[in-house]
Subunit: 430 residues, 2 copies
């Protein structure tokens, strides 16, 4: 498979970070091995990274990844092997898995993701059926995808505390539905294992919870490798009690943005970075790039016009946004020709199984590339993230991808901490 050459940051501190990551590779893997003895990774996840040249950091962690179809087909066996490992870890005695996808039945990109995921799981050795929460699907419905693949969506059937589809009583239920609309009664109090757990859904999960966990992980890791944790960690703040329509809390949001811009400016000065700071304001729950703003001044969040307020106030499933994360903006320096590119790394169990670039010609290096209706070009990574070449330059492709895999796994580790029920949370051990 041939992949266009990716232009990445050519110089500056990122090389230093990558050099340090490469030099510490056995220590890093040893550290991860020990972390995974203590922590249970999520079943799967994807991480949006931003590579600014001077900084390489996760900006989002998705526990219901929706782009398995975008991964390099050459690395499909890696996904199968990782899924075998995940099945052994989570449900060794499982024979039958029920996959619950998102409700959209007309988004072919998403359905291709479901088909790719089903293929991985079947090859890993479980019988898989698709059960849908979509109330419009009242009988088994075959969907044909543009590439000829077929999916059979079946209505869920609940009997007592067991969930299944007709003639199929699963041992385990895998969610590829982020529960933005809340946890349906159908899924409550089931005796079957649900992966990831219901608390991973956006009805309870908060981005600020993830990045609070990531703070600890990044700090420990930075100590291990000998770097400033800021180089792998974006600042964030939490503002809640907002009402964009009523303009309630605008002043508090502006104050948070202003403080954040000041913190970034000081870090830029400290590291000698010549760049204008910016801040991302995002709904604290939810995905799909809805409810996102990129601002360079606190003024920009004051007196939003109706259109801007509408955009910010509603995310998926019509939910109102009252709660945001104010996150340090990390510009992306990666581009292909004139298009901006953002890496997304995919993981199954504790293994990186590949990734792709979101490439967007219509957007700038400081914008959110995961936008509603965006027409991104998925560009699969040419090498997996697990094969660093210590003899090559730190910024050679396998090594850059190794660094991406390491930072993505840090976010995965943060998610593992985040998903531990509060009563069981243990201190992060080095």
């Amino acid at each position: 498979m041939s992949v266009p050459h990716l232009v990445t940051a050519q110089s500056g501190p990122i090389l230093d970070l990558e050099r340090k990551i490469l030099a510490a590779q056995p220590e890093i893997e040893h550290w991860f091995r020990n972390q995974w003895q203590e922590q249970t990774p999520p079943f799967y996840g994807s991480v949006d990274l931003r590579n600014a040249g001077f900084k390489l950091a996760p900006v989002d962690m998705n526990l219901f990844p929706g782009g398995f179809n975008n991964l390099n087909r050459d690395f499909h066996p890696l996904a199968v092997q990782a899924a075998m490992s995940a099945l052994e870890d989570f449900c060794p005695s499982a024979r039958r898995l029920l996959l619950i996808p998102e409700n959209h039945t007309r988004n072919n990109f998403y359905l291709q993701n479901v088909a790719a995921l089903v293929r991985i799981l079947r090859q890993a050795g479980v019988a898989v059926r698709l059960g849908t929460l979509n109330p419009e699907i009242t009988e088994p419905s075959a969907l044909e995808l543009p590439d000829g693949q077929k999916l059979l969506l079946e209505p869920l059937i609940r009997q007592g505390n067991r969930l299944g589809v007709a003639g199929f009583d699963p041992c385990v239920i895998l969610l590829n539905n982020d529960l933005s609309g809340g946890v349906p009664a159908m899924l409550s109090d089931l005796e079957q294992t649900i992966l990831p757990p219901l608390r991973a859904g956006w009805s309870t999960r908060r981005k600020t919870g993830h990045f609070a966990a990531y703070d600890h992980v990044a700090e420990t890791f930075a100590g291990l490798v000998g770097i400033d944790p800021w180089v792998i960690n974006p600042y964030f703040d939490h503002v809640d009690g907002l009402d964009f329509h009523q303009r309630d809390g605008e002043d508090r949001l502006a104050a948070s943005v202003d403080a954040m811009l000041g913190r970034i400016r000081r870090k830029y000065a400290e590291h000698g970075i010549d760049h204008t700071p910016f801040v991302i304001v995002k709904a604290n729950a939810g995905t799909y790039g809805m409810g996102v703003m990129s601002v360079k001044s606190a003024d920009e969040v004051i007196g939003l016009n109706r259109k801007q307020r509408n955009k910010m106030s509603v995310i998926k499933e019509g939910l109102e946004v009252h709660d945001v994360i104010v996150q340090e903006g990390v510009p992306t320096f990666e581009h292909i020709d004139d298009a901006v590119a953002e890496p997304v790394v995919y993981m199954l169990d504790r293994f990186v199984i590949g990734g792709f670039y979101r490439v967007h010609t219509g957007r700038g290096p400081e914008e959110n590339l995961n936008a509603p209706g965006m027409h991104f070009v998925p560009l699969a990574f040419a090498t997996p993230c697990s094969t660093p070449d210590c003899d090559a330059a730190p910024d050679s492709e396998p090594n850059r991808f190794y660094a991406y895999g390491v930072v993505a796994r840090l976010a995965l580790l943060a998610a593992a901490h985040e998903l531990v029920p509060a009563t069981q949370e243990v201190a992060l051990a080095v």
Copy 2:
């Protein structure tokens, strides 16, 4: 990577076997998952398979595999991921691994294997050094391979009950040396973990022990899939107390060969197979294809001439052979043009990571292809063994390779049983 088309058996019962294996794929993977909850796989292993068209069976299981360099480079990341898993399972807290290779320093094929193995282990995240038992290596010696790779062989240093090389105190010791010559004092009573355990070496291990364990595994598996266990299992018998030079035990060997030919003949009749039975007589300990005979009649082991007796009586390191396995010969129906081909499947931990064909133009379908000084052409498998395609024909390439991977894992499971110390052996549970 392009791979020539392999001509395999086109029809007959093997299709039936492969069809049954494919149909039972989720059940098979579920069964393996449960087996690996009970049994610890060897750190690594390779299995020689024979595909006769009517039969697909392991004929040898190597616990010190020596052909990592022959695997398809495209699947290298699979090996790294499996090694990460192996390190987690066997020595999660290990940072430093000492690899002890065979003593040959001039066999470039073998040294390339060592280089490939070192690369896999390093990328999986351990520091690796090479310590040699070779008494001729008294100081660190750099060896340059034809492809430019370099290996540093270092003399072993023992301090108390710890083994290492200068300035390197390993947490774990990995043997790629089959200990044919016995367990050196240097390796006895070490406090470090040795992988695989010393009892896996040919100074104690016996092929008959392996195939006795395989009998149980094959029978259980055959029950699961609904096949005659013979289809995946070669008959074997054990003859010891031999002295080829003195011609002691010749008659007992001939009787065993004769009985074996009779059993094969009856099975061929039962399955309607039109083929002349043959039997392989092999040293019960050791590898490298030394001490091997292929015979079609008991007469052939009576009155061996001096050359034949010499060939049979001595294997690696000049050890005398007094103990043989008499194994049902499984012809290979696979060939590439006019050359005979035999699949070898490689595993790390419980994962199949690839394989290759031993291709030999100078030998027939009933001969041993792993012969001393043989010039085989390693032909890497074009697809991994983990991605069956249930929509394709049972004899399509990914499916044939899946069946190979399944049968190889059965041999791996037998090795796991074989390596359990006698006092801990537990009954094989379904």
